[in-house]
């Protein structure tokens, strides 16, 4: 067993028992990257030197007998839309290919305070727009379980790196499924936290009312550790909630499933979902039922409209958020211009890829005069209705269980020319963002060709603890979820 194959909680224990050093852990991960990265392609930037320096700092503190934070000395990699001071943050776009933020995102400040070891920045769909990681300006990340398949997106690098053992933990961001879908495709665990529980300060904005940063890991305890480290109110993000958070690990238990009401929303098991995915997800539900949970069929009737509402709201916000990229203060600037307008237009036309342009155009359209009521306002009203349907459903059950994706990972290039097909991948995940709820994706088996299948647990707002406890129980029942892809 190599160190890179272990979980953060196991490594943290070994560090404290002096069974290994942070430098050894970090080197094990960096060596794994050297062996596999040319095939997987998770990283945009690798910060080997600073990572090793940070590891040595932790080792020195450990040698001096000082107390360590839970994540001290543990390798973590970060999606490349989260600002890291002095480390290039590109959003996998030509537009930001040379951007070095002068500040850290709040989540990075929190990880630094814990002395986590930042290994590098991870590939993604350009500006987090996509479900396959294929719209990156730099490279296409591959699924570590099958290299001719996509890792899912937009946090494809974050999921692939954890699955490949190229890091222990990672951060991604989720606007419509961008953490959960790649977690499902790559056979790892991914959490989309409650909107407002993790600061978005320093996360390059895509759709501000839906975006949320969240953790990837190979064990439920690791997910709860990383979530504990990053959640909390932040004066620099006015949308973060004022509230106290429990000590998630302290209360992390093998939940007593007896009497736990798990809702199975029938709309999430429609014909659009593959038979194999349905079977495996329902088998997982059955396992929970055999151990005391009560399964209830429930209905969320507006689910079918959620994707439309999502594309209207997210594109509208994106068109507004991405207006800042104009070639003036930072980022790419064209060389071909003779006046200001031409500079704007050529900078943006050369700096953005097609998917980003399509969404900016769509967002501009739905916000334009005469169409605002027909599209944007209708979508916001539907959002309210979806939120109400979830609230009503949580009166009769404690959790919802659904598939994460409609199918397992698809082949690279298979859906790049058809936006509607690509968007349909997100059908089980977007409702959660629209309603601002927390949801976790857990591996629950494989299809006939060995590709991972994911199930999604959805909880009421700020009920992450119940997600962790039930996930932990499931993890125990199936004998663990930590699986590094063989490469």
């Amino acid at each position: 067993m190599e160190l890179y194959q272990l979980t953060a909680s196991e490594l943290a224990q070994m560090l404290r028992n002096k069974e290994c050093s942070s430098e050894e852990i970090t080197k094990s991960v960096l060596n794994r990257i050297k062996e596999t990265e040319d095939r997987v392609g998770s990283y945009v930037t690798i910060t080997e030197e600073t990572a090793l320096e940070q590891a040595k700092v932790v080792d020195a503190r450990l040698a001096a007998g000082e107390a360590l934070s839970p994540l001290a000395g543990i390798p973590i990699s970060v999606k490349d839309n989260i600002c890291t001071k002095g480390i290039r943050t590109t959003c996998s776009s030509k537009m930001l290919s040379n951007f070095e933020p002068p500040y850290n995102a709040t989540v990075i400040e929190k990880l630094s305070a814990q002395e986590a070891v930042i290994i590098g920045k991870l590939n993604m769909d350009e500006f987090a727009m996509g479900s396959s990681c294929e719209t990156s300006y730099f490279k296409k990340t591959r699924n570590p379980h099958s290299l001719d398949h996509v890792p899912g997106g937009s946090s494809g690098g974050s999921a692939a790196a954890v699955a490949a053992g190229e890091t222990i933990l990672s951060l991604g961001s989720d606007t419509g499924g961008s953490i959960r879908l790649p977690a499902s495709y790559c056979g790892v665990i991914g959490l989309k936290p409650t909107y407002g529980s993790v600061s978005r300060y320093g996360l390059v904005a895509f759709a501000s009312s839906l975006d949320q940063i969240g953790p990837f890991a190979r064990s439920v305890e690791d997910i709860s550790m990383l979530y504990s480290a990053i959640c909390g109110m932040d004066p620099l993000d006015a949308t973060t909630a004022r509230r106290e958070y429990p000590d998630f690990q302290k209360d992390l238990s093998n939940a007593d499933l007896k009497g736990l009401r798990i809702g199975i929303p029938k709309e999430y098991f429609s014909d659009g979902v593959s038979t194999e995915v349905k079977e495996k997800v329902l088998a997982a539900a059955k396992l929970l039922e055999e151990n005391g949970a009560v399964l209830k069929e429930v209905s969320l009737p507006s689910t079918g409209y959620a994707l439309s509402a999502y594309y209207v709201i997210s594109s509208a916000e994106a068109s507004s958020n991405l207006a800042r990229f104009d070639g003036v203060k930072y980022g790419y600037r064209t060389e071909n211009y003779s006046n200001l307008i031409e500079m704007y237009e050529n900078t943006r036309s050369e700096g953005f890829g097609d998917e980003v342009k399509r969404r900016i155009l769509l967002g501009t359209f739905v916000l334009s005069s005469g169409y605002y009521d027909a599209y944007y306002k209708r979508a916001k009203l539907l959002q309210k209705q979806i939120q109400q349907e979830f609230a009503d459903t949580f009166e009769e059950c404690d959790l919802l269980l659904t598939p994460t994706g409609t199918d397992t990972a698809f082949k690279m290039g298979e859906k790049t020319d058809d936006p509607l097909k690509m968007y349909a991948n997100d059908i089980c995940t977007v409702t959660v963002n629209i309603a601002g709820l927390p949801a976790i994706s857990l591996p629950c088996g494989e299809d006939a060709s060995g590709l991972p299948i994911g199930m999604q647990l959805i909880a009421p707002k700020f009920a992450e603890q119940i997600l962790f406890n039930v996930s932990r129980k499931y993890e125990t029942l199936v004998g663990g979820l930590n699986k590094v892809a063989v490469l």
Partner: protein
């Protein structure tokens, strides 16, 4: 419905080539077709989450960044200022 992609491109400060116009128009038609199926709902207030009333932090100036650090990312800088083409004719 006809979507004037070139007009939207102008509003968005983007150039879209003629062959891309046709492709984008078709793809946007499909996406909007999906949106046209949204049900008619009647309601007025839909924007504020009553459970999370946001508050602004006090407006206190803080000296967080050095001018040179901020300007490091600017494409063209002269004498501590960002250089742009002539703005007023």
């Amino acid at each position: 419905m006809k979507i004037d992609v070139q007009h939207l491109a102008k509003l968005s400060r983007l150039h879209i080539s003629e062959e891309q116009v046709a492709k984008f128009e078709m793809q946007m038609q499909e996406i909007l077709g999906m949106v046209d199926n949204l049900p008619e709902l009647s309601s007025e207030d839909c924007l504020i989450d009553p459970q999370n009333p946001m508050t602004c932090r006090p407006d206190i100036p803080q000296n967080n960044y050095k001018r040179d650090d901020i300007l490091k990312n600017a494409p063209q800088v002269q004498a501590g200022c960002v250089v742009v083409p002539k703005v007023i004719e």
